[in-house]
Amino acid sequence: MPIDILMPALSPTMEEGKLAKWLKAEGDSVSAGDVIAEIETDKATMEVEAVDEGTLGKILIAEGTDNVKVNEKIAILLGEGEDASAMDGGGSAPAAASEAPAATEAPSSPAVASAPTPQAPAPETAEDPEIPAGTTMKASTVREALRDAMAEEMRRDGDVFVMGEEVAEYQGAYKITQGLLDEFGAKRVVDTPITEHGFAGLGVGAAMAGLKPIVEFMTFNFAMQAIDQIINSAAKTLYMSGGQMGAPIVFRGPNGAAARVGAQHSQDYAAWYAHVPGLKVVQPYSAADAKGLLKAAIRDPNPIIFLENEILYGHSFEIPDMEDFVLPIGKAKIERGGTDVTLVSWGIGMTYTMKAAEELAGMGISAEVVNLRTIRPLDIDTVLASVRKTGRIVTVEEAFPMCSVSSEIAFQVQEKAFDYLDAPILRVTGKDVPMPYAANLEKLALPSVAEVIDAVKAVTYTA
């Protein structure tokens, strides 16, 4: 029986990839362990090894093809004594692909591999008050936006440097720092040992001396090793020194759940850091958020916790094509206008929220979506203005419910807009459990679009 060779999943979040190169031709014999092809994921170029031995009977996906789905048949392997006639149905012509998809890549982003780019639903109110009217827009992934933000600020200020695990020669564990080493050199793009506590403290010390470090945590889960330095040293020194010295530092990296990486690698720390006076906490959703807010964070004289999300890295958004696009920290954005209910979300929670708002519109419910952008300082005024208009509010986040950012928003809304509320405040959050590994349980542990819709139906009494 001929064996189907399938497109492999090569990272926890990979859904599709580019079949970059075939290293074996049709008719070549293949032994187990031979490298047969190279595949580009959004993170890296990976070699694919044969598991079985035989002869490569047919290549089904031509090299250069983008967006090949995981588990799609890419070739057929013939066993001993089999010939091409043994193949049935697999003989369709390879997808002619090599050049066309490449043209859709943003020309201004040479360093990043062509990543799978799920398009976010187009917001109903796309105008951002921070973007001048008439500005042309271009497509950018969150990954490119973050990299461009760092590169621009490093060009602008020689005191800015980036340090962390695998940020330099490896080009970033998630490719966020790709190309920075080439441009800025090893002095300013510093590979650290696996030493979160130590390099976080080192970064704070350098910041106290006036440098502006960007400390990348490979994920914020690992920043728990360093949380003493973040809170006791970075956040409190300005106050303890009577204003003499602070720490202009950005701690950034992916935060929250990725996909199927289990309890220790899947946690949202927004509420933890938002608890602490002396820190600012930023949690971007779109590529524009990522770029404008990271540039602002690097320029800010205070310690900033910049919470990214691995799943959003590959998402593509429209971003203003501006020389110097900086967003204000502490200001929320009305991502979509509406009249019946206020949905408040941030970071990856926005993906559920925007989809839910779209579906709700189809049901005749007009939801206004507030994208917080910053958790601390919290732009409660924007939330309140919306609630006073709609009389109903649902918050959406992936974090645990207990003492969550949602809890704080609910408190402030009841305190400051009690008389405007026509229904109890509801929140859609991650479940109150450590993140499970099994795919079905993981899905259950996270919020869903359906849960958001149900919550909206409850507060609008339309269930």
Binding site: P193, F199, G201, A206, A209, S233, M240, S241, G242, G243
Partner: protein, 349 residues
């Protein structure tokens, strides 16, 4: 720092050695000239008298919280201060009053911080354990054991980044030497050749636990061995030995050779903090240190033996210093507490 510029030859005996011999060699004792002896005497006496007064004010309820006195360890910080040049930083943990006085900070500002008054170095918002002076390159004053070691390594990183030729003297105790981040910092400092002197002030006890009961390897000068960081054990009760070793270590760092460890063998006469009765050691042990190794008495004896000062001269110095300390204590009691509006300032810039 009047004396520092006049001591350029003091450390000349300590020639550069190869790394392996540096570990074993007895550090040289700097020959002090008259003005250096007098300077060291004054500086150490100021710390001693200041700390005695702080203990007194604590007893009167004027200083709150934790208060860790430096009495007995004065030679360490004074000897290092005499070896450094303008721009070299110091950073330490919470036993920090002596460092600030040695770095020429006004005793009034230090004492007023202890009493939580608006004229304190941190406007009364930091307290005994949290004081800073950007102007004098003193970076605190940190309350978490070991945290200052990573921070000091970062100050060294900034020196190297800016190529300013300065060195960060990072102080920590024998207790902190068992913290994990110390070794994370050692590794990065040697890997990147950062100009940092790790000064281990071994006063024999981490709170109430002796070095022997807390450390599997008690030669703390060799704690950098697995990172290839040279280290020396120094008589931290002899200000001349401290200065000589510091000069050598500073030269090493300034030459771009990376970090250096100095284990200053010293002793604190008082308990860990004001609330520690120090029952884990005998009175005899303390008394022996005070009578045989006191850092100030050593200098006093040399000044008299060399006829560089008379008893009357020294009494006059003591009187002058008591006057300065009394003035500081007076200020720290009369200065008002911070205005209530200060509660919400200095949180963010």
């Amino acid at each position: 720092m009047a004396a520092a510029s006049k001591t350029t030859t003091a450390g000349a005996k300590s020639t550069s050695r190869s790394r392996s011999t540096a570990k074993k060699a007895e550090p040289a004792i700097a020959e002090f000239k008259k003005d250096e002896e007098l300077h060291a005497y004054r500086e150490m006496l100021l710390i001693r008298r200041f700390e005695e007064k702080a203990g007194q004010l604590y007893g009167m309820g004027l200083i709150g919280g934790f208060c860790h006195l430096y009495i007995g360890q004065e030679a360490v910080v004074v000897g290092m201060q005499m070896a450094k040049i303008e721009g070299d930083q110091m950073i330490t943990a919470y036993r920090d009053h002596g460092h600030m006085l040695a770095m020429d900070l006004d005793p009034k500002g230090v004492m007023a911080e202890l009493t939580g008054r608006r004229g304190g170095l941190s406007k009364g918002k930091g307290g005994s354990m949290h004081m800073f002076s950007k102007e004098k390159h003193f970076y605190g004053g940190h309350g978490i054991v070991g945290a200052q070691v990573s921070l000091g390594t970062g100050l060294g990183f900034a020196n190297k980044y800016r190529e300013n030729g300065n060195v960060c003297m990072t102080f920590f105790g024998d207790g902190a030497s068992n913290q994990g981040q110390v070794y994370e910092s050692f590794n990065m400092a040697e890997l990147w050749k950062l100009p940092v002197i790790y000064v281990i002030e071994n006063n024999k006890y981490g709170m109430g636990t002796s070095v022997e009961r807390s450390s599997s390897m008690t030669d703390l000068s060799q704690r950098g061995a697995s990172f290839n960081i040279p280290g020396e054990k120094v008589d931290g009760m002899d200000v001349r030995a401290v200065m000589a070793a510091s000069k050598k270590a500073l030269e090493w760092c300034r030459a771009g050779k990376g970090p250096y460890i100095l284990e200053m063998v010293t002793y604190r006469y008082r308990g860990h903090s004001m609330s520690d009765p120090a029952k884990y050691r005998s009175k005899d042990e303390v008394q022996k240190m005070r009578t045989e190794h006191d850092p100030i008495e050593q200098v006093r004896k040399r000044l008299l033996d060399n006829k560089w000062a008379t008893e009357d001269d020294l009494k006059a110095i003591d009187k002058e210093i008591r006057g300065r300390v009394a003035e500081a204590a007076e200020f720290a009691q009369s200065d008002p507490e911070p205005d209530a509006s200060e509660l919400y300032t200095d949180i963010l810039l």
